[in-house]
């Protein structure tokens, strides 16, 4: 196979006037009976949902192109259209070169087959011949560090081993254009690091890559261009920096709306008996102070001896937690307030809150998803924390 020569100004993917509708049945009755009933009642058993509306954009050869958007914005549908899994309703998608999609790792993996057999099956689905797979096989196995398990059935692998095997196949799959879904980066920290190393390598090799994600850190780090999609329309296309900013604005607006709605809901009907409020707002810069207040109904929630607040990043990363017992702070009934110095990197964060009795195990109330806030500073460094450091 001769690799297409790279001209930086040539389009790898061209999308023009792309529309996509889904026909959603009202009830999941896919049967002739329902069909007949609907005819009889002269009722349409379905409705059209416009998922993508008039998308036009271009990905150039050698671009590391990010597609970002909130949940339900249509980005996964766009990805599946680009991968050829869905058929466009209207419009045109032109792809120049072989496209290798990774919507999910290990497509077609069968638990009853051995590791070796699964490698070849997965390879065939990605379009590689037995000979091509033979050539890659050793390096796949080596990278996965699963040499000893190749002749065991996949069902005897731990989930971590399965992911390792699938990922090893993925990174050995060479095509002109790679389509990556963020689900690739799901896993423990070490695995995420491996993914990021792989992205870094792709970037260095000037591969054409399309990355779908809502991790703005990854977009700014890897992508040279990005597209923001909102409610099925293109909100903006441009530099990854600009798109990340727009995305955060969009997110902030949504969070403010959500918080307001939540506050309203809580004042109307206080179900949990707990009220939470970030006194100082939603947007912060590095090092600013944030005050978070929890109040609870003393009549309904009794015996609180310890209050804990944990801080998580939007991707679920555990950032910091403490409670009043650890800090030897004497808790008053019904109200506690905590002020942080936000020496934290850019990102979206949220609180988890627990009210406890005498012991940690004695949970009186626990709130898994508390209020959110955003830090956006445009620091030169990356990551969560700025560590003291010294170059020599």
């Amino acid at each position: 196979m001769v690799m297409a020569e790279k001209h930086t100004n040539q389009a790898a993917i061209r999308v023009e006037g792309l529309h996509k509708d889904f026909i959603l049945p009202h009830e999941r009755h896919t049967g002739i009976k329902q069909y007949l009933i609907n005819i009889f009642k002269q009722k349409k058993g379905y409705e059209h949902q416009k998922v993508l509306k008039d998308l036009t954009f271009e990905v150039k050869k050698g671009d590391f192109f990010g597609i970002v958007g909130r949940n339900g914005s249509g980005k996964s549908t766009l990805l599946k259209l680009l991968a050829g899994i869905y058929t466009p309703g209207k419009g045109l998608i032109q792809v120049d070169g072989t496209l290798i999609p990774f919507i999910e790792l290990g497509v077609g993996f069968n638990p009853e087959l051995t590791g070796r057999e699964n490698i070849f099956l997965n390879g065939a689905l990605l379009g590689f011949s037995r000979k091509e797979m033979d050539a890659k096989y050793d390096s796949i196995v080596e990278f996965s560090e699963l040499e000893r398990f190749m002749d065991q059935k996949l069902k005897n692998y731990s989930s971590g081993m399965q992911v390792r095997l699938a990922f090893s196949i993925a990174i050995r799959a060479k095509g002109d254009i790679l389509l990556l879904d963020e689900v690739l980066a799901v896993g423990d920290a070490a695995f995420q690091q491996k993914c990021f190393d792989y992205f870094e390598q792709l970037k260095k090799d000037k591969k054409t890559v399309i990355l779908v994600t809502h991790d703005m850190g990854a977009v700014e780090r890897f992508c040279n261009k990005a597209l923001l999609i909102n409610k099925g329309r293109i909100e903006a296309v441009g530099s990854s920096q600009m798109i990340a900013n727009k995305y955060n604005q969009l997110n902030q607006a949504q969070i403010e709306k959500d918080t307001k709605a939540q506050a309203e809901r809580e004042s109307n009907e206080d179900q949990t008996g707990i009220k939470m409020n970030i006194e100082t707002g939603v947007m912060y810069k590095y090092g600013e102070k944030l005050t978070f207040t929890i109040t609870w109904d003393k009549e309904r929630i009794k015996g609180v001896k310890n209050a804990g607040v944990a801080l998580f990043a939007a991707n679920g990363e555990y950032v910091f937690a403490t409670n009043t017992v650890i800090d030897k702070y004497k808790l008053n009934e019904g109200r506690i307030s905590i002020t942080y110095d936000l020496a934290l990197g850019d990102g979206t964060y949220f609180f988890k809150i627990g009210l406890f009795g005498k012991n940690d195990t004695d949970v009186i109330r626990f709130i898994d998803k508390g209020p959110e806030f955003i830090i956006k500073t445009n620091n030169k460094w990356h990551g969560r924390f700025k560590l003291d450091h010294e170059w020599k």
């Binding site: 896919t30 899994i85 869905y86 497509v107 087959l113 057999e117 065939a124 689905l125």
Partner: protein, 270 residues
């Protein structure tokens, strides 16, 4: 869908992987494994032969009736297996279709190929039975590939149609099960067609219009005994002779068009 794509290298590789996988999985964790492919038709044949041949004494006027019966049963089983595998093929592989783009017809074809492999094994068994029963090797024997090829084309076309229809309406599986049951008795497999013709010439003629009946009778004629009544002998008029072929052709055209049209939306609907 271009013809060159249908047999392109990439698609052949995938087809082979899928067939091999299916074959491996089918006999996993069974002691006799692949032997079941042989045992199942043999045991079914033993039952049918006992009930119809010995108990009810049907077909005593046809030479080598046991082998004649077995060939019919084997071909019918192939038809049922190929269409049945095809029917569930797309729905069963929904997980794949939703995540990766590949030509969908490959899944249907791979299902029918496993049936074809089974048929080949069974034909070997029939060969052994023919030798044991002292069936003379007829000059027409090599021609048996023609009706078998036609039966395969018909089964494949039906499989295409059913697999696509099943994505939309899951009732298709149940309807097909019942249809196959009825068709089994409406096809001259267990009984010689002469038995029906004696009672009602009209019904006998109608039954012989079925492409499955025609191919089974032709295969018996070519391979086992020229006593077999074939469709073309029965009608003797060329336009009647053509009906089973025409039916197959219609099924092929309708099924391919329907499959091609609906396969674009499998990923959304399955």
């Amino acid at each position: 869908m271009k013809i060159s794509n249908i047999v392109s290298r990439k698609n052949r590789i995938l087809l082979r992987e899928l067939v091999v996988t299916e074959f491996k999985l089918r006999y996993q964790d069974s002691i006799l494994g692949f032997l079941w492919s042989l045992l199942k038709p043999l045991l079914m044949f033993a039952i049918l032969y006992f009930v119809f041949g010995q108990l009810l004494r049907i077909g005593s006027d046809i030479e080598h009736y046991a082998v004649y019966l077995l060939l019919g049963v084997v071909l019918w089983n192939f038809f049922v297996e190929a269409t049945g595998q095809g029917l569930s093929a797309i729905v069963a592989r929904g997980d794949l279709i939703r995540k990766i783009n590949f030509p969908k017809y490959i899944i249907v074809v791979s299902g029918t190929i496993s049936a074809l492999i089974n048929l080949t094994i069974n034909l070997v068994v029939i060969g052994v039975f023919m030798a044991i029963n002292g069936v003379d090797l007829l000059a027409t024997a090599p021609l048996v590939v023609l009706p078998i090829a036609m039966l395969y084309v018909l089964s494949l076309a039906i499989a295409f149609f059913l697999s696509a229809a099943n994505v939309k309406y899951r009732d298709v599986g149940h309807i097909w099960d019942i249809f196959v049951q009825a068709a089994f008795y409406a096809t001259p497999i267990l009984y010689p067609i002469s038995m029906v013709l004696e009672r009602s010439s009209f019904i006998g003629h109608v039954l012989m219009l079925s492409p499955v009946a025609q191919t089974i009778q032709d295969a018996r004629y070519f391979l086992i005994t020229h006593q077999t009544i074939t469709s073309s002998q029965l009608f003797g008029k060329w336009y009647f002779d053509l009906i089973p072929y025409a039916l197959t052709a219609i099924v092929v055209v309708v099924a391919s068009l329907y499959f091609k049209k609906s396969s674009k939306y499998f990923a959304e609907n399955v």
